[in-house]
């Protein structure tokens, strides 16, 4: 059952990924990306990371992708769909590069071995719920990165505002 | 008079949305009040006499024909020019005979001038307002149809032909001397020039009464 689900999610994710980088209409790309995020969330659920699944949808699908949509609407798409989506002669270069990279990765994956196990076993996480476990980890051990992430977000907000602001 | 432009609210009003709550209270009260609408096809509004509706030619009870004498006043006063009359003149008596009398109700703007100027009260705009149809043809009233309209109107409202009163047949408040003979019909006292109403002590009374008191 779990394997079946995994294969379904994995196949859809790969297929959608391919479609996204090749589709002509950017809005369709974004829509497919939305579906991809859902399947990504499904994979997270298979990994018992329910909080991550929720965050994936709320932040990625609910916020980031909408931002992409907005910016896409700013650009005149009517012309875009008439043009080839790829840069000149870049397509084959990209395919070759990507395949080479994949082969390298595959080599790494084949020789990969896990390090020592930690303390958060699946049973423990399920018992205290994933959200709580994440919370405890973030607010105790990883409090400094958390603060840094907060600052990065703040910087991003200010930077975004400054850039998008119209020159008077 | 300069109007107030003072909309500053007190702090309590600002925080507790008092004006919005007042509005909500009003709509809630109205939820339980009687509604004012009329469920039209089931209920109908009572019309006042003189409503300018479907055209009709009054049938003279004596001759059973239209009263029209073809004076052409209605057709010449009609701003929309929707009345067309053809008549012939009797050689001997110099009397006119109406050959055809046609009203194009689709052109009519229902101003009521025709019934007001008619010296013999032949034409009338009846209080019938429901005569829609799918084609244009039924709105082209000829004489027969106009007389039939009159009969239908009487039947529908259970009226007697000589009891029908319409303020355009005898304009309210005009002195008798200003009216042509045909228009001098019996009307309630309130409609006559002498019986004009005025306002006195919180109610409408006729001028005569007001003078006698």
């Amino acid at each position: 059952m779990v394997q079946l689900l995994f294969f379904y999610f994995a196949l859809v994710v790969i297929g959608l990924g391919l479609r996204i980088v090749t589709a002509k209409n950017p809005v369709h790309c974004v829509l497919l990306m939305l579906v991809l995020f859902f399947h990504m969330a499904g994979l997270y659920l298979l990994l018992n990371a329910e909080f991550l699944a929720a965050v994936q949808i709320i932040v990625y699908a609910g916020a980031i992708l909408v931002l992409y949509l907005f910016v896409l609407f700013l650009v005149d798409l009517r012309e875009e769909v008439k043009m080839s989506p790829f840069i000149k002669k870049g397509k084959w270069l990209g395919i070759v590069g990507a395949i080479a990279l994949f082969l390298t990765f595959l080599r790494g994956v084949m020789n990969f071995s896990l390090g020592p196990h930690g303390q958060y076993t699946i049973e423990k996480i399920q018992q205290m719920t994933h959200t709580k476990a994440m919370g405890e980890a973030i607010y105790t051990t990883y409090i400094l990165p958390f603060e840094v992430a907060g600052i990065i977000l703040l910087v991003a907000v200010i930077g975004g505002l400054a850039m998008a602001k119209r020159e008077k | 008079m300069r109007i107030k432009y003072d909309t500053k609210k007190k702090l309590a009003e600002q925080i507790f949305l008092l004006e919005i709550l007042k509005g909500l209270w009003l709509t809630l009260r109205r939820l339980f009040s009687r509604s004012v609408t009329i469920q039209y096809p089931k209920e109908r509004k009572e019309l006042f006499p003189g409503f300018r509706g479907k055209h009709a030619l009054i049938r003279d009870p004596e001759t059973n024909q239209a009263k029209c004498v073809a004076c052409m006043r209605c057709s010449s006063v009609c701003p929309a020019r929707c009345i067309s009359i053809r008549y012939s003149v009797d050689e001997k008596t110099r009397a006119r005979k109406v050959d055809s009398y046609e009203i194009n109700a689709l052109r009519c703007i229902f101003c009521g001038y025709c019934e007001e100027v008619c010296p013999v009260n032949a034409i009338v705009l009846t209080e019938d307002y429901e005569y829609s149809d799918y084609t244009r043809q039924p709105f082209h009233f000829d004489m027969e149809r106009l007389l039939k309209n009159w009969d239908e109107f009487l039947e529908k409202n259970n009226l007697e032909p000589d009891k029908y009163l319409n303020p355009f047949l005898r304009p309210r408040g005009l002195p008798l001397g200003e009216l042509p003979a045909g228009k001098r019909i019996d009307v309630p006292e309130e409609w006559t020039y002498e019986g004009q109403v005025i306002w006195k002590d919180g109610k409408a009374v006729s001028a005569k009464e007001a003078a006698s008191n």
Binding site: N25, H28, L31, F73 | L24, T27
Partner: protein, 322 residues
């Protein structure tokens, strides 16, 4: 066996929700009608009781018009996105003790996720129709939904802090064990923010500018007709119902009541939810509409600071007395 039970639950909840949607339209027209000293639907059946069925039939059999210049795929998909995201949110609502289709640990987050997806349907509907009015409506709506989502999420943080859980059933249980029995009293600020955000999130008056008929004709659904329009309509009403249920669950103690009504475990829940749905109608009959920038200002300058203040207050009180 368990799967079958879940399926049965899904069917029941789906049927009940759909019935509610149908009659929510009817009661909306009736309530607003009587508030406006008229009668509302009266012709179909006694007091127009069959009106929703007539409307449904009409919408089903109406011609489905698609603008020639529309992006057809997206145009088809947009109402479905709206409807599905609205319907999925129903799955985690606990209607009475032990009855929720999915009793998951991140129930609250799940509802947020689903309601944030609804903005896709709207913005894509606005874009794909290739009509300027639709487009403006779509943009307005998604901006509105995204910004009010933040206020709504923050307003519920207080509830999460008090109950210590994201599971809706646990939240109700925590409320029953709390001193006031409902979170309305300790979380009055959060409740206020939530109610305002709830109106905005579902695009209802006074925040109905995405479909403000006097400005943008009908906003994002200007070009939709027939069944596809009905899908948007259903999504809106399901959204209203979900938001009302969420308010009941998080602030009014869910299915608990002053006394148990035997045989009807969901009595109190429905009663409270109906009150919120009535509130939607009531406000619609009373208030004018905000302007777009004012709406944004209200969200960002009033509601979000208020919600943050509420969080700080709740945290302080909880750390001092809890």
């Amino acid at each position: 066996m368990e799967l079958l039970w879940i399926l049965i639950k899904i069917v029941i909840v789906f049927a009940v929700v759909m019935l509610h949607v149908m009659y929510a339209t009817y009661f909306e027209r009736k309530v607003i009608g009587h508030m406006q000293v008229r009668m509302g639907p009266m012709r179909v059946g006694p007091h127009g009781i069959l009106q929703p069925i007539a409307d449904g039939l009409k919408l089903f059999f109406k011609e489905d018009i698609i603008p020639a210049e529309a992006d057809k795929k997206v145009f088809y998909a947009a109402p479905l996105i709206c409807l599905i995201s609205a319907l999925s949110a129903v799955a985690v609502l606990p209607f009475f003790e032990g009855f929720a289709i999915a009793n998951i640990n991140i129930g609250l987050l799940y509802i947020f996720a689903m309601s944030s997806l609804a903005s896709y349907g709207v913005v894509l509907a606005g874009w794909s129709a290739n009509s300027k009015y639709s487009f403006l409506g779509g943009l307005r709506s998604s901006a509105q939904v995204i910004s009010y989502e933040i206020a709504m999420g923050l307003s519920l943080v207080g509830v999460m802090m008090l109950s210590g859980s994201l599971n809706l059933t646990d939240i109700v249980h925590a409320q029953m064990n709390s001193p006031y029995k409902i979170y309305l009293i300790p979380q009055i600020i959060g409740f206020f923010v939530f109610v305002v955000a709830m109106f905005a999130e579902t695009n209802r008056t006074p925040f109905d500018l995405p479909e403000a008929e006097s400005e943008l004709v009908a906003g994002y659904c200007t070009e939709y007709s027939g069944m596809r329009f009905a899908l948007f309509f259903m999504a809106e009403y399901i959204g209203m119902i979900v938001m009302s249920c969420l308010a009941v669950t998080c602030f009014l103690g869910g299915w608990s009541g002053p006394f148990d009504v035997p045989g009807i475990p969901f009595f109190w829940f429905l009663l409270k939810a109906y009150f919120f749905i009535f509130l939607y109608y009531w406000v619609r009959a009373t208030l004018p509409r905000y302007r777009y920038d004012q709406l944004m200002a209200l969200g960002w300058k009033v509601l979000i600071p208020l919600a943050l203040f509420n969080i700080v207050l709740t945290g302080t009180i909880k750390s001092l007395f809890g």
